[in-house]
C-alpha cells in the first residue's frame, strides 16, 4: 500500500513539474507548481516528516504560489504567452537535462548507498518535540540569523517596491 502511494505521489510530482516547464501560460505554470508541491508534501508524509509536509503546503503552496499568481496577474504578460521556444535554447537545455539525468543514471546503477529498512530506523522527523529541542539548542544561532535575514528581506522589499523619483526624493 505504502509502495503504491509512493509511486502515485512520485508520478504526480514529476508530471506536474513537467507541466511547470512545458506550460506556456504563466498562470497555468504556477498552478502546476502548486500541484507539484502537493505531491512533494505527500512524499514528506511518506517519510514521516509531518510537520515539514504541513509547512511546505502552508509556506509554499499557501504564500509563495499565491504571491506568484498575484505578480503574474499584476504584470499581465498575455501578449507574449503564445511565443514558442527557440530551437537553439531548446537543444542546449535538452543536452543539460540529459547530462543531469545521465549523472543520475550512473548514481542509480553504480551507487554504493545502503538503504536500511525503514522500520529499523526511528522516525525522528515525526516528533515535534525534537524540532523544538534542536532549534533551541544546536541550531539556536542559525535561528537568530534567519530572523535577521527575514527582517533584512522585509526592509529590502519595501525599499525595492517604493517609487523612487530622484535624489531629492530620499
Amino acid at each position: 500500500m505504502a509502495q503504491i502511494l509512493f509511486y502515485l505521489f512520485a508520478a504526480f510530482t514529476i508530471a506536474s513539474a513537467a507541466g511547470v516547464v512545458a506550460n506556456k501560460n504563466a498562470v497555468n505554470a504556477a498552478m502546476c507548481l502548486l500541484l507539484s508541491l502537493v505531491g512533494v508534501a505527500g512524499l514528506f508524509v511518506q517519510l514521516d516528516a509531518y510537520l515539514l509536509a504541513f509547512l511546505l503546503l502552508l509556506v509554499y503552496a499557501g504564500a509563495v504560489v499565491a504571491l506568484f499568481l498575484f505578480i503574474v496577474m499584476l504584470l499581465d504578460t498575455k501578449s507574449r504567452a503564445s511565443a514558442s521556444f527557440k530551437k537553439l535554447p531548446m537543444f542546449a537545455s535538452l543536452v543539460a537535462f540529459g547530462l543531469l539525468l545521465a549523472g543520475l543514471g550512473t548514481f542509480v546503477t553504480r551507487g554504493q548507498l545502503e538503504s536500511r529498512p525503514l522500520h529499523a530506523v526511528p522516525a525522528l522527523g515525526a516528533n515535534l518535540k525534537l524540532y523544538a529541542y534542536q532549534l533551541f539548542t544546536t541550531y539556536l544561532l542559525p535561528v537568530q540569523v534567519i530572523g535577521f535575514l527575514l527582517l533584512i528581506a522585509m526592509l529590502g522589499v519595501i525599499v525595492l517596491s517604493k517609487k523612487y523619483d530622484g535624489p531629492e526624493d530620499a
Binding site: 516528516a49 509563495v64 504578460t77 543539460a96 543520475l104 535575514l149
Partner: protein, 102 residues
C-alpha cells in the same frame, strides 16, 4: 510492510531537480524561470528529508526548516526585483533584457 528505498527517493529528487534546471535554461519568462528555481529548491529539500529519515537523524529535517524560511524571503525579494524591472523596462522577457549586450 514494503516501503520505498532511499535510492528511489533520491531518484525522484534528482529528476525533479533536473526538470527545474531544464526549465531555468529553457524558459524566457522571468517569472516561470523563478518558479523553476523554486522547483530545484524543493527537490533538494526532498533529498535532505529522505537522507534524514533513512539515517535516523534530525539535522536534515531542521535544515529543511531553514531552507523553507530562506525560500520564502527569497521569493519576496525576487518578485519585488521583477516588479521593479517591469516598471523600468515594461517587459520581463529575458530575450528583451539585453541592454548590456549592445
Amino acid at each position: 510492510m514494503i516501503t520505498a528505498s532511499l535510492n528511489e527517493y533520491l531518484v525522484i529528487s534528482g529528476v525533479l531537480f533536473a526538470l527545474g534546471f531544464f526549465g531555468v535554461l529553457l524558459r524566457r519568462n522571468t517569472l516561470v524561470v523563478f518558479m523553476c528555481l523554486e522547483l530545484m529548491l524543493v527537490a533538494s529539500t526532498l533529498a535532505l528529508v529522505a537522507f534524514s529519515r533513512f539515517n535516523g537523524t534530525m539535522d536534515g529535517n531542521v535544515f529543511v526548516f531553514f531552507i523553507l524560511t530562506v525560500a520564502a524571503a527569497e521569493v519576496a525579494v525576487g518578485l519585488a526585483i521583477i516588479v521593479a524591472l517591469f516598471r523600468l523596462r515594461q517587459t520581463i522577457q529575458l530575450d528583451e533584457l539585453n541592454s548590456l549586450k549592445n
